[in-house]
Symmetry: C2
Subunit: 244 residues, 2 copies
């Protein structure tokens, strides 16, 4: 699937990205250092930008009413996953950070790996980082706040590792990791008892909320020929990852 209407990071650094590609090609046939230092160095970026697609930016701004209960929050993030593939703005994953007590949406996230050119831009990571920068804290539990990460599919090894640092007190999951593996995604080397490991840190995990609906979005992505990242390595290691 070729993404259409992709929202990419913007900014002055971004505008010269094509220049980087040109430089790489020039360097292939120019003697080393033949390009002036001045010209080469101006192409270096100094910031990472993960920008929500336009449709999600609009949705986020319109969404002011709180979500009463966990199923409603899950319906919202599954809808983000579905919209993300239907609009061609990334992989079939949605997530969000909610205030646990009020149900207020603090930040949404979708998988932006392809459009943002960034392997760490999983839905959970985007939601966590956006919530923290919106609130101006690196720990979502600061000031006695109680937040939860709601994700359309269980977190991969990276996102799982990010959970304790984020300050959330609960993780709510739709599809299971094995549902993502079933369509070719790699979950990475997660501890066997990852739920117990989070529990020891005081972080509760709730699984299988609207699992069927969440799995349907994964299958929809698969059926439509959506890109499975790092496919070469996945083909080699999928069964290992699934059994870890």
């Amino acid at each position: 699937m070729e993404p259409t209407g992709v929202s990419t990071p913007i900014g002055t650094d971004r505008l010269i990205l094509r220049g980087v590609a040109t430089t790489m090609k020039l360097k292939a046939w120019c003697p080393r250092n033949a390009l002036s230092k001045m010209w080469r160095t101006t192409l270096k970026q100094a910031q990472v930008i993960l920008q929500l697609p336009d449709w999600l930016r609009a949705l986020n701004e319109q969404q002011t009413d709180p979500f009463e209960d966990v199923p409603a929050r899950m319906d919202f993030v599954i809808d983000l996953a579905r919209k993300n593939i239907e609009r061609g703005t990334g992989g079939p994953f949605g997530a969000a950070i909610f205030a646990s007590d009020t149900g207020e949406l603090l930040a949404p996230g979708v998988n932006l790996v392809e459009p943002a050119h960034c392997s760490i831009a999983h839905a959970e990571m985007v939601a966590i980082a956006l919530a923290q920068q919106t609130l101006g804290v690196f720990d979502l539990s600061a000031n006695g706040r109680t937040c939860e990460l709601v994700t359309s599919t269980e977190p991969c090894a990276m996102c799982l590792g990010a959970v304790p640092w984020s300050g959330v007190h609960r993780v709510v999951c739709g599809a299971r990791g094995e549902d993502a593996c079933a369509i070719g995604f790699d979950e990475g080397a997660k501890p066997t008892d990852w739920i117990g490991a989070l529990g020891e840190r005081g972080i509760e995990v709730t699984r299988d909320v609207r699992r069927d609906q969440a799995r349907t979005v994964l299958q929809q992505y698969h059926t439509s020929g959506g890109l499975i990242y790092n496919a070469e390595r996945i083909d080699t290691h999928r069964s290992d990852a699934a059994s870890e």
Copy 2:
């Protein structure tokens, strides 16, 4: 340690962050929805920005000569970690992505958790994301490129989980995870044989390069009273994390 000269993300969304804090306070005593939807929603952010500190931006632009060998690359990232604490722009961790064959610096990274208000902004994550966005690829192994992540301290569980998705072929580490734990940092739930797990994916790990020098920077941070993130949870779980 209070950071001084901290470089924070910028942009129009960033400029209204103080407004968010004000809104949160107002919401504490205003009836729900008393604030107009229009006003509240304009405060929502739509992008995550991780910006290098000014000193690192300048250093990155000046650094055009390649790094001949692995110790030279490690010296560079340890120096980043040291400068990051001396200038008060984040935690005691540095990392970078190099082209393995030429030694070209593709992107540097330092820990930006505090100044960027972002728990995922570990040095390795910043370096990986910056290299990918600079090159315009979500997989650093695209186009047959061979890249390595050089990090002043072994990756935590999150950064370890990010390594296979990044496309790097090698990880070079200075200080060990236990050296970070020794000053109070939490490494998270890493698989016992994390080096073997990366090896199965074709990713080589080289440890203990300039370990003493890297550990010295960690101790320098500790001695100067640097903030240990999520200290409350760390005190509870440090020994578990170290033994995992």
